[in-house]
């Protein structure tokens, strides 16, 4: 990712506007946009790893670890929800670091690294499928909350508005944190590794540390997102939080929005998620199963073929072209 060309203020204004609009929307829109921000947030996390050239095809692993850790700590150990969420993120970061350390230690690169991420994700999924503590394939269920007496900021559970604001803040937070990181020394190192790892190493970039750090942060973010997601769903099954489908769903938005930019995953999510939901409902009503899968596939194919950098750079380019055309009049 190149350092963001736009200044921070438009982004801030955008997030503030979305937050203000929250209470004004009806629960359908809140739910839909919550899903949008969930995928935007996960997309930002995935994109971070990608900026260092590490293609993660098993990102759901981090989501799942975070989700289960948070849920189990809250429900079984009775730990405070905020602490549990942090612990979930931390555990996910640890898993990510371990995975990357192993990979870097054994010089696993390219195809093999991507396969390693899938292998780990599937390994964990089957382990969780058979682990009694988390309920195995039978699922892990959080107790019901009483909507009248529940205090969302304490229990981290609530209605549609609560989760809308939660994921919105998470996305905004991730956006700014990652923005700062990419503009920092580490950001340059990661981009260097992505462009040409051997050259970067030759220039003194500490490859192992850089890789572990970027994955730790990316995984940690994903873990927190997973924790919130689990709290929102109320029930967790290994296949539904750690499965291959989830990993694929996570990378659709950032690819369509634009791999190389910070706002790309967010735009991608805004485009993809409502389309997925709408096509899903349409598919069920008409009886055309698989319509949404088909649309997803064709969309990705179209973008990767014609717009390899994604929607966002093209939109920016269009905007620039327009404004420069204005200037030249």
């Amino acid at each position: 990712m190149r350092p963001p060309a736009l200044s921070r203020w438009p982004a801030l204004a955008f997030f503030a506007a979305m937050a203000a609009a929250g209470p004004l929307m009806d629960s359908f829109w809140q739910s839909l946009l919550t899903l949008v921000f969930f995928y935007a947030y996960m997309g930002l996390s995935w994109n971070l790893m990608m900026s260092a050239g590490l293609l993660s095809l098993g990102h759901a692993l981090f989501l799942g670890v975070g989700a289960y850790a948070t849920a189990v700590l809250i429900a079984t150990a009775g730990l405070d929800p905020w602490l549990s969420l942090a612990a979930g993120g931390f555990l996910a970061a640890m898993v990510g670091s371990a995975l990357t350390w192993l990979g870097a230690r054994f010089s696993v690169r390219g195809v093999h690294f991507a396969l390693l991420t899938i292998a780990f994700a599937e390994l964990f999924r089957v382990l969780f499928d058979n682990w009694e503590l988390v309920g195995g394939t039978g699922g892990f269920f959080l107790k019901a909350i009483n909507p009248e007496t529940n205090r969302p900021l304490a229990t981290l559970r609530g209605g549609t508005l609560f989760f809308y604001l939660a994921f919105l803040s998470a996305t905004a937070g991730a956006y700014f944190i990652i923005g700062r990181l990419m503009a920092s020394r580490w950001g340059y190192r990661w981009r260097g590794l992505h462009a040409d790892e051997d050259a970067a190493r030759a220039l003194g970039v500490p490859a192992l540390q850089s890789k572990v750090l970027v994955v730790a942060i990316s995984a940690g973010l994903a873990g927190v997102g997973g924790g919130l997601f689990g709290l929102m769903q109320g029930s967790l099954f290994p296949d539904s939080v750690m499965g291959v489908r989830v990993s694929i769903d996570i990378l659709i938005a950032p690819i369509i929005g634009g791999l190389g930019s910070l706002f790309g995953p967010i735009i991608g999510a805004f485009f993809v998620v409502p389309l997925m939901e709408f096509s899903n409902v349409l598919a069920q009503r008409i009886g055309f199963f698989g319509l949404n899968t088909l649309i997803n596939g064709m969309l990705i194919l179209a973008v990767i073929t014609f717009l390899p950098d994604g929607l966002w750079p093209r939109l920016i380019a269009l905007a620039r072209f327009r404004s420069s055309a204005q200037c030249s009049k």
Binding site: S31, D129, T137, G138, L282, R285
Partner: protein
Amino acid sequence: MTQRKPITRRRIVAAGAGALTGTLLPGIGRAQGAPVKIGVILYLTGIQSFMGQQTRKGNEFGAKIVKEAGGPPLEFLYGDAESKPENGRVVAERLIRDGCTLLIGTNDSGSTISVAQAAEASKIPFLINIASAPQITEQGFTQIFRNFPPGTALVANAVARIKELGATTGVQPKTAVILHVNDTFGQGIIKGVDVLWERLQVPIKILDRISYDVRARDLSVEVAKAKASGADLLMPITRVSDAILMIREMVKQNWSPMGIISPGSPGPYEKAFTDALGKYADGYMSCVPWYNPTKKRSREIADRFERETGDRFDLNAAFAFEAVEIAADAIKRANSAQPGAIHAALKATDISDHIIYGGPIRFDEKGQNPNIGGVMLQNQNGKPVVVGPQDAAEAKAVFPLVPFDKR
């Protein structure tokens, strides 16, 4: 595969417009004084679709019968959870947004808990037609009403029926091996077995418990292991597709135990099972709740269902049917479409004249109906018949099993 009407351009535009208004502008299009909207969440597609489709037929039949009997006007909206438990909540929320003030579902324990969470959050009553996991009534849900026995009750019934079987036929099995699916439902039944086997001092020793994934495509190793245990009895806890796979493997590996008795799971009594396996489906016994074949009204409903739909009036259809009757009864007493009123009316339910074998339908403080009885079914000549207890039996049990290679 489900029947699809021919796709015309008009239908696509209408569906699109309907989907648009339905999804983008919820709430528009509901007239005042309209029928009570009941949301039904089922697995209509995917690996468990057969049971879901059967359940839906039971619902629709129930709606028809209720209408004929002059019941309150009801409108059923169906939502498909695609055989994925986590979808229960999402589908329920969509149905609630579409104006449903009562939910019925789901024919699977995992998705039932998922729906219950949505029902709890929106304070919409949820009438559970089929789901046996014991924890459903232990989670503190205030909106649920379960008209199906929990796993412990299913196993208790099984123990009673197996003891009775030994007594009436004079053949006593000494050992058993359990083959079970490890989803929410399967785990619930196994827990029931673990608890009750000790407590009721069942004289049958369980040699091994072999679990498998509900999506397993191949059970050859599992069956080989079960066969190697040398047990007298096979006690499978399955769904439909895996039950079919299991029997096929048993035939191929030439294993005919003394008996196959399920302590409370779907599979053998389903039409898909008996159709797929023909003569190999016979002899399989299952201890489940069922409609009472000795009761006149139950027989009439069952026969009429089979005549009009061409399908079997099995457990899925029967409980779906009964759920609709309970809903209609409550809505009539509530005389309102408001969820709160329906909830109160459901709590006060007391129905003695119903088709399922057992005592009157009532719901305790956790929402559980404690009076549901259980029978023992056996497949004979391609159809499940009730072979126990004596006051509900239609036929005598064939025990031990006729070996597969002698059929």
